[in-house]
């Protein structure tokens, strides 16, 4: 019984992980935008005026 429960749980987690991997792949075109955000000096983060 415990093995069955464990098996189900592993499957659910694997499915959830797969779903998030697919979501990430769907949003991979955002990578360059995020890269720009990391490379530029974020005025909000350091409290620059203007």
């Amino acid at each position: 019984m415990a093995d069955l429960k464990r098996g189900r749980r592993v499957w659910w987690k694997a499915l959830l992980l797969l779903a998030f991997v697919i979501i990430t792949i769907l949003g991979v075109n955002e990578y360059p935008t995020i890269e720009v955000l990391v490379r530029i000096i974020c005025t909000s983060c350091i409290g620059l005026s203007g």
Partner: protein, 272 residues
């Protein structure tokens, strides 16, 4: 043989010591961006400001806000957070977050004089809602302007690197104020920011019930002494909430404290 010996040495360490090594390592990795080619568009699993001069990855909360300002939802960020959460739950908060490590340091300085604070688990979800709503309404990354992690890892390093820079405005001083307030409160209340205010902790905490890595309670071994709850820095009040509550950072202090070895780290735990 030499490598095997080193691995044995690492596994023999106490959980607390392993955590310190992991936190220092995570901080070093977070700053890999000091090599310009290593400034990437990946998403950090913990709250580390992308405004840091040496940031290696984007802060998920900062990126989510930037996309909201642009009128979009960052699918990449949500997907990546989902992967981190499904695999590790809130473990990154306990084992990697540099801001969390600062809280641990403050707890060490404070010693045993711990304030028993109320457990308002929902406040971080209110903050998360405010982050999204404020970005939408103000069309600005409002949370970043007051984020104490940004103060410590972006504003202060920038000020140190460029002391003659003239552009520091009122939000720089607001940053410093929020940092001082957080540090003072964290001195008295263990993991103050992580417990009550961290919006990323709120997201990561949602995955604790489904995460691959978790803490398992062996009920047959547990004699109900509650030593584990006394050791908990996040103020968890019930044994069955360990590893499942949105507050649990899977730091393992309960695992280490348990005299009956009833708690253990596990993958794919079956029952609680």
């Amino acid at each position: 043989m030499h490598i095997l010996h080193r691995i044995k040495w690492l596994t023999a360490l106490k959980i607390g010591d392993k955590r310190k090594i992991s936190q220092v390592g995570a901080f070093a990795i977070s700053n890999l961006g000091f090599i310009p080619i290593l400034k990437t568009g990946g998403i950090c699993p913990f709250l580390y400001c992308q405004g840091c001069p040496f940031a290696f990855l984007g802060c998920p909360i900062g990126v989510l806000q930037h996309f909201i300002v642009l009128g979009q939802i960052s699918v990449f960020t949500l997907g990546t957070l989902g992967i981190y959460g499904t695999l590790m739950g809130r473990a990154f908060c306990g084992w990697a977050c540099p801001f969390g490590a600062i809280h641990d340091l403050l707890s060490c300085l404070r010693g045993e004089r711990k304030v028993k604070a109320p457990r308002y688990w929902f406040t971080k979800y209110i903050v998360l809602s405010l982050v999204v709503i404020s970005a939408w309404i103000t069309v600005d990354t409002f949370f970043c302007k007051v984020c104490p992690s940004g103060s410590l890892f972006a504003a202060i390093p920038f000020y140190v690197l460029y002391p003659n820079f003239q552009g520091f405005g009122v939000f720089f001083y607001i940053h410093i104020l929020t940092l001082v307030a957080t540090v003072v409160l964290a001195y008295f209340v263990s993991r103050f920011w992580c417990r009550y205010l961290c919006p990323l902790g709120a997201i990561n905490g949602l995955f604790n019930k489904v995460s691959v890595v978790n803490i398992h309670l062996n009920k047959e071994r547990c004699d109900g002494c509650k030593v584990c709850l006394k050791a908990c820095e996040m103020g968890i009040r019930r044994v069955d909430e360990i590893g499942r509550s949105t507050d649990c950072t899977l730091c393992g202090q309960c695992v280490e404290a348990c005299p009956d070895k009833a708690l253990s780290f596990t993958k794919f735990a079956v029952s609680k």
